[in-house]
Subunit: 392 residues, 2 copies
């Protein structure tokens, strides 16, 4: 058993909780030696000798074995993480944007420097989904991973469908409660969920992608008409990120989806996240927990630190096994509900139209459309058009 010395970047609630728990734990045999922060003048609950605003005091400190990166800025985080690994230090990070966008670089860094880079907190915070994909679903029997990966949008959707308030008002409430960022675009447009999907695509199927490769569609255009449709048809609406293997092709997207009321995904409310795994024998497994917040993030970071005590590394078995075998496919059909009030969707983009409805309140169609057609359709971005996935 090691006695790991930690250098921490960022000392918000996660960092503070981490310090508290490490002091109490017998077995996570680690101690914080130095903390790098932006503002040295701010009052802190620890002795001033812990703090520095000079990152090299951590990165070039030979006493420090592990860098724990807990800052928001993805570019600054990449710089820190790169320098840390190049200095032979293992790294724990929660920065999903950085990881999703620079996965290949980060893999090379850890391989070149023979260090470990763990990031369980980057995907659904406290839900140990990466570790389960690495360790338990370490074979080719996995067929799909899907779920609710973003707590802010799930909070908004829960309120939107329960209270029938307009989107802007619910968003404001979420922001006031701290469940949504002041710039909510990353959450609301499904980009944050997509970052997590990119990371899971790699651990589920060994597939390296860029966030730009994955289709995402947001929740901000959902209106009363859509909610009414959902409720009349026994659905709720959830922002679902999904990847699925069909033979050697991987299908992946992040789209608001009608989910049957009573299903486990429909019951995943507010800031909770859920991940459903489908595997051999077609049996589905659910992992459920808080997907954001200080404590859930802290508990995942702590588990990573604990694993480093045993020299744990992700083995990336899927990448080695599936190397080049699986590719991202956009040539598959989505069954889509498209509601429109002004501009009409272009019917020729659809493989088939199952239903059409028009009224004074709004119009909709239900049709099958290939993902590559959907991605390039301009009508989809019109303010008066909204699309929601219908699963059978």
């Amino acid at each position: 058993m090691k006695n790991l010395k930690l250098g921490i970047f960022g000392f918000g609630c996660v960092g503070q909780g981490l310090h508290h728990v490490l002091q109490q734990s017998d077995s996570v045999n680690s101690e914080i030696v130095k903390i790098c922060i932006k503002d040295l003048k701010k009052s802190r609950p620890l002795d001033a000798s812990y703090f520095t605003d000079n990152k090299d005091e951590l990165l070039q400190n030979e006493e420090i074995d592990v860098i724990v990166e807990l800052i928001d800025d993805a570019d600054a985080a990449l710089e820190i993480v790169t320098a840390a690994m190049n200095a032979g230090k293992s790294v724990v990070s929660a920065n999903k944007k950085m990881i999703a966008e620079h996965l290949e670089t980060l893999l090379e860094l850890q391989s070149k420097n023979k260090v470990s880079f763990l990031y369980e907190a980057a995907c659904c915070a406290s839900i140990p989904i990466i570790r389960n994909l690495e360790e338990y679903y370490d074979n080719d029997l996995l067929t799909s991973v899907e779920g609710i990966f973003n707590g802010s949008t799930n909070f908004i959707l829960t309120k939107l469908l329960a209270d029938g308030l307009p989107f802007a008002q619910v968003l404001k409430e979420a922001q006031d409660l701290g469940f949504a960022e002041s710039d909510p675009r990353l959450d609301v447009e499904g980009i944050d969920a997509k970052y997590k999907l990119c990371i899971l695509l790699f651990h589920a199927f060994g597939l390296i992608t860029k966030p730009d490769d994955i289709f995402n569609y947001g929740i901000s255009k959902i209106n009363e008409f859509d909610i009414d449709y959902a409720q009349k048809h026994g659905y709720t609406i959830k922002l679902i990120a999904k990847c699925r293997r069909v033979n050697d092709a991987i299908e992946a997207y992040c789209i608001p989806t009608f989910v049957p009321t009573g299903s486990v995904l429909s019951q995943t409310s507010n800031e909770y996240n859920a991940v459903i795994l489908e595997s051999a024998f077609s049996e589905s497994q659910l992992l459920y927990g808080k997907g954001a917040g200080d404590k859930p993030t802290g508990s995942a970071v702590l588990s990573d630190i604990s694993a480093l005590n045993y020299d744990y590394k992700y083995e990336y078995k899927k990448q080695h096994k599936n190397d080049g075998k699986f590719g991202l496919s956009e040539d598959f059909n989505l069954k889509l509900f498209v509601r429109y009030n002004g501009v009409s969707p272009i019917l020729e983009d659809f493989d088939s139209i199952e239903e059409k409805y028009s009224s004074d309140r709004g119009n909709f169609l239900v049709g099958h459309i290939k993902l590559h057609e959907l991605k390039k359709s301009e009508w989809l971005e019109d303010d008066t058009i909204n699309a929601i996935l219908l699963n059978d």
Copy 2:
């Protein structure tokens, strides 16, 4: 990567599904070489050359690396597993009764013979709870594990509370549907759930127990009065197995429990199982899936076989870490609802009584009682008395 040769005991649906999936998988690089069954005359979907009724043709077969034990009889299973490990073969088993009752012996066998013994399917079938306790919750930060560990009783309770039918009728329905054994005592009295709790006590806290050490109370006495109480107070009733660490003491029991309607445990219906883990930062995690049946069991067995390809062993870190530190405690209070129609519970057994109610329909009290008092109280076993745990 190995090419594991498997010898299988038992060839029901799990064995057959396993054969099917192994043929399709590229990465679970294993093949079945021999299958031991009781009745050679029964028609089988595989070539007759696979089958034998002589167990030594598997146990003494040097070609076979791994024995997969899929039979019901715990005593026969112990014999097979013992002989297999002594012959230097790794073992995969789903036999919770055998494992719970002979844990210490089985640990010695695998250590002495330097083989691996995996049994994920023995706890909540497809839910990877053992692996998560071993790998992800591999430190002393875990504080409690609880859940619904038995699908048959959960099916019965779901029907009992939804339809208001008498217990005997619901039990009959469950038996007709194959969700309960013809001798349902192991399920209904909470003994099966207790076996799983014993296994989890070891992987959660490193504590070796015997099933007889753990208190269990069944669901067969739940009547209309109890159900009415639950519904009026916003509860449903679930058979909950729980273990919890309080400093160096471990509390463990398996008791029907009032669970708030709307909570995730209340929403775990029919044959589903759920496990809730509480860890540092007080954040709870839920794992959810089918807890019984051929496919869920098969998928867990398959994951164990897949792990053996990488020489995976349970490391039993908790046992090494907590060696002798944690002991089972019975000196803690349970808040109990006790309904009685004839005989009265002995009030002196309780630390305190919070409520008393009497009517023509029945009487109840709500009180705090130490587990060691509850265990020895004879009134608890009276046919006209039923106890259900109340959590705050």
